[in-house]
């Protein structure tokens, strides 16, 4: 999920400078040896299995078609490829020799069994919020998985990112370990939602942008982020012009998170995988709690800068006309004459904020690649959208994207053909 952690450019000189200056006075986190255990949980293994689902551990720690939790999935980033570790209880290749304390140290402090610093591609800035009882339950569950003695390949990172010791600096700058502390001013449901969203759910790993050193932008948490290499935009969950969720009914949001479709939206791209593997399996009260918390987030309005090419003024009218014609030929049967859609099979486009984000990457990729929402227990046979990449040229895709972003009262920006060209070559998968 955390494919877009760092941005290169300034990082080399800055790191070297900072490193030289502060290395020796860096405080290591005082690691408390917590004595709390999972003893008060009736069935820690079942509990751990559920928590592992909520954390979507399987998604990153399993290669495509590979043994569950045996690692080996390659996470491509601008800094090189991270290869996820084997977390089965295999003695040599996995976590077989780890104790519950070792596991807690990884989740809570971002340190391996041997004390080495872990890359934050493993979202420990989120997992540090997990309490000790849940950590122990996760550990108990992972002990029950079939061990796979198969060591994944090494990370292939560029210099200086391959210098693991630099993570000491990263942690000093950006990481503060600490279990989620309940907000006494909120009720138990809200706090449960916050615990799941901020911790196990690690929503911010995609939806919070990063600064140039790969640190999360905590002043704009869940404020939206363009996922490098993957080329999807994880929309802001706090900006009212994007995916701020307060405008949907609780029922719609719960439906979207647990089935992949609602009367307003459908999930796609990386979020389809999150729903498919994780959210659809959560207990309804937990999804309700997450929805409650997300809808309570204070609104912000700080759109993420888009460096996408802009359509010149003199081309806008022609683009509209062309786009409308294409829409009537190709889209109208499912999305309706007035963009009203036919939810939940086909989401409405009129008033759909997913279309209006400053960065048009998601709209363009939907038109190019089409696809299915995830097939879930609540929506086991989803309706699909044809990919139009093979049949429409860049100008046509831009025209239809421009039309749906501006028709029926939608107030999005029009899309230039160059933006389509840019995303056409991104592999759909």
């Amino acid at each position: 999920m955390s494919h877009a952690i760092f941005r290169p450019r300034l990082i080399v000189p800055l790191l070297i400078l900072l490193l030289a200056g502060v290395w020796f006075w860096l405080p290591g986190w005082q690691e408390e040896v917590s004595t709390a255990t999972a003893g008060n949980v009736a069935d820690p293994v079942a509990r751990g299995r559920y928590l592992a689902t909520a954390g979507d551990c399987l998604a990153c720690h399993t290669a495509r078609g590979g043994a569950p939790y045996a690692g080996g999935r390659v996470l491509q980033t601008a800094y090189g490829d991270f290869v996820t570790p084997n977390i089965t209880p295999a003695t040599g290749a996995g976590l077989g020799s780890w104790s519950a304390d070792d596991f807690w140290r990884a989740l809570h402090y971002g340190r391996g069994k041997d004390g080495r610093f872990l890359y934050p591609a493993f979202p420990y800035p989120n997992y540090t919020k997990i309490n000790r009882a849940d950590s122990d339950a996760l550990y108990a569950y992972l002990r029950t998985i079939a061990p796979v003695e198969q060591r994944p390949a090494e990370h292939q990172l560029d210099f200086p990112y391959n210098q693991r010791s630099l993570l000491r600096l990263w942690q000093a700058l950006y990481f503060k370990p600490g279990v989620y502390q309940a907000d006494a001013g909120q009720n138990a449901e809200w706090n449960r939602g916050a615990y799941l969203v901020q911790g196990l759910g690690h929503c911010g790993a995609c939806h919070t942008s990063r600064d140039r050193l790969g640190g999360p932008n905590l002043r704009l948490e869940l404020g939206g982020s363009l996922l490098a290499v993957q080329d999807w935009y994880a929309p802001s969950l706090t900006d009212r012009q994007e995916a701020h969720l307060a405008q949907d009914s609780r029922e719609d949001l719960v439906a979207l998170l647990s089935t992949g479709v609602s009367h307003r939206h459908a999930v796609f791209g990386p979020m389809a995988e999150v729903v498919y593997r994780s959210l659809q399996h959560l207990d309804e009260p937990d999804v309700h709690a997450m929805a409650l918390y997300l809808q309570s987030l204070p609104p912000t309005s700080a759109p993420v800068a888009s460096d996408n090419p802009v359509l010149p003024e003199h081309e806008k009218l022609a683009m509209q006309i062309r786009g409308k014609r294409l829409y009537q030929d190709l889209c109208i049967n499912c999305h309706g004459k007035n963009g009203e859609g036919a939810p939940p099979a086909y989401p409405p486009l009129a008033g759909n904020r997913s279309l209006l984000q400053a960065n048009p990457v998601n709209v363009v990729r939907m038109v190019l690649n089409g696809g299915f929402p995830p097939g879930t227990r609540g929506n086991p046979r989803p309706y699909g959208m044809p990919p139009f990449g093979p049949s429409l040229n860049d100008r046509e895709v831009a025209a239809v994207a421009s039309y749906i972003r501006t028709a029926w009262g939608n107030r999005g920006e029009m899309v230039a053909p160059q933006a389509v060209e840019r995303y056409r070559t991104v592999p759909a998968d």
Binding site: E273, A345, G351, F372, S391
Partner: protein, 230 residues
């Protein structure tokens, strides 16, 4: 108009028009427009010259391919994207739907093989080449080359470029099937010339009127294939 009233207006328009929308047909044909955009109406292929016909292929074959795309044994990015978040029950249903579509085939592609190459192609398909370790295509893909139940696809009515790409991918490991991967063995035993010849020859053959897959073989196949139920 304030944003508030604007959204109210949009909402009202939306509500009004919802009542006029015809119900979405609760059919697989409606659901699977994502597939037919490239594979043609009902999966009978288009004239684009690459995307294969899927209509009428054995359901087990189609299902195996969907699972291969999901699990990394096949890698066409658009296909991986389509199937990766779908439950197996739905993929099974999709495979059955396209397998049940029996539609007439268009005339085959025009060929440019000379007599000698054509004879070689026909020999490989009908007889194989024992010296090269090559069984005849017909032994597994059916006497009419229209496939053989439960999981061997027909080889006729497919574009030459598609056939060529599949054999090449099998040879270099980009396409795989369940182990033991019989087609990988065949593709690796083919010379480059023979590979081109056999793809070309197959693409120029008319599909027989009786185009359904043959019943399962009663005797063992020449090679062990992991894709078949053991």
């Amino acid at each position: 108009m304030s944003r508030f009233w604007h959204s109210i207006a949009v909402g009202l328009v939306g509500m009004l028009s919802v009542g006029t929308v015809a119900a979405v047909p609760d059919t697989l044909a409606q659901r699977l427009q994502a597939c037919t955009a490239c594979h043609g109406a009902q999966g009978k292929a288009t004239s684009d010259g690459y995307y294969p016909r899927i209509a009428g292929k054995p359901a087990d074959y189609l299902y195996n391919q969907l699972i291969h795309f999901r699990d990394g044994r096949r890698n066409h990015p658009a296909m991986v994207y389509m199937v990766r978040n779908q439950p197996e029950a739905y993929l099974r249903e999709i495979a059955q739907y396209f397998s049940d579509q029996h539609l007439p085939y268009p005339a085959p592609q025009a060929g440019d093989l000379d007599a000698r190459a054509s004879a070689r192609g026909e020999q490989l398909v009908r007889k194989g080449d024992a010296a090269q370790g090559l069984p005849a295509c017909m032994q597994c893909h059916g006497p009419r080359l229209t496939g053989m139940l439960p999981a061997a696809p027909g080889l006729l009515g497919l574009p030459r470029d598609y056939l060529y790409a599949q054999l090449s991918n099998w040879r270099n490991g980009r396409r795989q099937a369940a182990t033991p991967d019989c087609m990988a063995r065949v593709a690796k035993a083919l010379s480059q010339d023979d590979l081109v010849t056999v793809a070309s020859w197959l693409s120029t053959q008319p599909v027989p009127v009786e185009s359904q897959p043959a019943v399962a073989a009663s005797k063992p196949l020449p090679l062990a294939c992991g894709s078949l139920p053991q």
